[in-house]
């Protein structure tokens, strides 16, 4: 399959918006059973891009993980989950807003990481645990109550969704802070979320050759070393650099995230936590 991938790439020119994304290799503490491994580490970029077919939709950690995950895990708990990978393991692949991946690149899709996607394949719930139904002779009541329950619980479990906007990208997204275990995961998530969109914005009309050029990793969000820096707005509406406070505290105080151009940041407009603390303590 993979040998044919280059042919496919030649056949299909890349349109502007849909750029291949790299495989997500982030492990989430909460969903540690989710291992998104579409390619081996150390493989070259191009190969990873080709294999990232699934990535477009399989990449969890953007905003919807928690809620989708929850849908998945509830189904699992209902006993419908023989086909789900592990108890509590949320569907990692689902149609997220991360669709900025070249569909054309997805030639070498194999089943390796065909992780469950919400509502896919399009089968009604009561058709879903047939593999185990011959074993159990008990009333399949969970089937009946299935979708109702799933959604009910879904409503009750709130993720911690905050809006996130990036300089230069018109449409903002939402991410669920609770889906990540720490700042590094968050940084990676932001990179994944916006990388394709950013590349598309930069080169609107030129068809570039397939390859890694277009997709530049968004690095250095936390330490000021990259082109962009991640900041958040707290309850008071102040902008604060991300990364200084303990993660748990960050989740509870961050109301909104922004990815700003590092060059636009002026020392005075952005608070660091220590400065704020000093200010309030005087």
């Amino acid at each position: 399959m993979e040998g044919e991938a280059p042919r496919l790439l030649d056949l299909i020119p890349k349109e502007r918006d849909w750029v291949g994304k790299e495989v997500c290799k982030v492990k989430n503490e909460i969903e540690e059973k989710l291992e998104l491994r579409l390619g081996l580490p150390g493989e070259d970029n191009e190969k990873e891009e080709k294999q990232s077919a699934k990535s477009a939709f399989s990449l969890s950690f953007s905003e919807n993980v928690s809620k989708r995950a929850f849908l998945g895990s509830v189904e699992t708990n209902e006993g419908k989950g023989t086909e789900r990978k592990a108890s509590g393991a949320p569907p990692e692949a689902h149609g997220t807003r991360n669709i900025n991946s070249s569909i054309a690149n997805n030639s070498s899709q194999t089943r390796i990481s065909n992780a469950p996607v919400v509502g896919w394949p399009p089968i009604r719930s009561f058709r879903k645990n047939l593999a185990s139904s011959s074993i159990s002779k008990s009333p399949l009541e969970t089937q009946d109550g299935g979708p109702v329950k799933v959604n009910e619980v879904d409503i009750n479990k709130k993720g911690c969704f905050v809006k996130i906007n990036m300089d230069g990208i018109p449409i903002g997204r939402k991410i669920d802070l609770k889906a990540y275990g720490g700042y590094d995961e968050l940084s990676s998530a932001v990179d994944q979320l916006f990388r394709g969109l950013l590349a598309a914005q930069r080169v609107p009309l030129v068809n570039e050759k397939s390859g890694g050029e277009k997709n530049q990793e968004i690095k250095g969000l936390l330490d000021g070393s990259g082109e962009y820096t991640l900041v958040y707005e707290d309850e008071e509406g102040d902008r604060v650099l991300v990364g200084d406070v303990p993660w748990k505290m960050f989740i509870s105080t961050a109301k909104r995230l922004r990815v700003l151009k590092t060059s636009d940041l002026s020392v005075s407009s952005i608070n660091t936590v220590s400065r704020k603390r000093a200010a309030t303590e005087c």
Binding site: E4, R7, E15, R84, H94, S107, R111, G119, S125, I155
Partner: protein
Amino acid sequence: MKEEISIMPEEDENLEQAPAEYSLSPSSDQVFKKVLENVLELLTHKRDRNATSAVCRSWYDTDARTRRELFIGNCYAVSPDRVVERFKSIKSIVLKGKPRFADFNLVPYGWGANFTPWVKALGDAYQHLERISLKRMVVTDENLMSIAENFPLFKDLSLICCEGFSTLGLAAIAEKCRHLRVLDLIEDYLEDEDDEVVDWISKFPETTTTLESLVFDCVAHPFNIHSLEGLVARSPSLRRLSVNQHVTLEQLHRIMVLAPQLTDLGTGSFRSETGSMVADPNLNLVSDFASSTSLNRLSGFREIEPQYLPAIYPVCVNLTSLNFSFANLTADQLDPVICQCHNLQTFWVLDTIGDEGLQSVAEACHDLRDLRVFPLDATGDSESSVSDIGLQSIAEGCPKLQKILYFCQRMTNAAVIAMSKNCPELLVFRLCIMGLHQPDRITGEPMDGGFGAIVRNCKKLTRLSVSGLLTDKAFEYIGRYGKLIRTLSVAFAAESDLGLKYVFEGCTRLLKLEIRDCPFGDSALISGLPLFYNMRFLWMSTCNLSVRGCRELAQSKPNVVVEVIEDEDMENEDEEEMVVDRLYMYRSLVGPRTDAPPFVKIL
């Protein structure tokens, strides 16, 4: 297929331009009206009725007075009050609620489609209501009790993919609807009751009943089998019976003895009480089936013990419909059955039979019209054993095929093209390649060619679902050739806005469009503006739409309701540039609904 009448918003629009009536003398006017009424009695099809109501005021009034059957494809397109005001004497109503993607958990709980406001309005207005058919609506026990109490002539209740009720409501229907003819519960999700399950089957009156159809395989609770036997015994008109998985073969036997006149049987579990691997010779089902000379539709088989399958041999040759879609059968187990089913027109099955099993089907069932192949294991990465090979066999063996739903892991363009050429009667082509973005398994190319051939060669095609790796080219084909397509479902496909633009430009008869996980943005959405008033609905989830784009759409189309459905409550400040989780847009005569939950924002 029941005849259906629809309420189309266009009717009201056309009314503004109705020509003036001739001035007739009063008596000729009355005669004319009487003649018209008599003529209209003969017109029952919704399109005919809609056409007559658009001619002029007088015809509109006559239609409103004489129309007996209503079809409302979207319960939010019109309000109960408006319906009741226009139509004076309705006997039958069909109502559909949630969008179809609700079946796949894409619509959060509590979204809407409540039957309550309807049952109240209908109860006040239509004493003679006899038939209610609901699909994807929320129906409560109170609603069912209202039906039982308000409509003394009530005959037919059909609930498909509904939720919100329990055996308590069913008991009310059983007990109070003395003229009940049809009670069809199909793929509904009943409320959990735990201790309070009611034995609703025992609530039917003790006298002879008028029951013709009783379908309750989705009601998973145990029930008193003797109540059912008694009911069957005193229901001489019963033609269709579908029991749930608690009914064993032994119990089925007793029921079949009581009802040899059945034409349609849902067999429940199709397993014996004993659970032994060897067929019990005392269980003489063969004679039951042999005596059921009218039986031509079979379903159920929920926990099938294949050693009992030979019991159905006597009816195979008469079968027009066979539903094995819950039966885990191998090709070898299927073969002796299917090779006798020469008259089969509808066949639903699990992919466990594999390509080999499909080959048997193709060889035996030359009259096949409707085939559905479901996956046993519905995850994306299972090893399904049906593929392009099975599809090719069917294409070659079943030239009369009209509808197909086919789940698989691997497909080729060649097989799809073969089907497009060999099955010119295709009306519905739904192919679900379960792995995301799967290309042709042999050539590695996108599936554009296959779907292109389908729309080009199948000139009667009205419904299409696509899957696999698809570029914008596939949509160019669909737009160019899919002129009769009314329902289109797209998932994980296309490369850019162009794909959707092709569809909007070309598919002029499009009525229902459902899209998920495609890279379509605001400009693609706006390109569809001219089409939206002629569509029942548009669904787009996890695409690239912004709130601003959807708002633009809402502002330019006042007769269309634009719903943005999130999972959590929408915040209000500067949301314009946020991406939209789900867009559900539909035409409506009555504007935004008042029962929208907090997570739905109507723009």
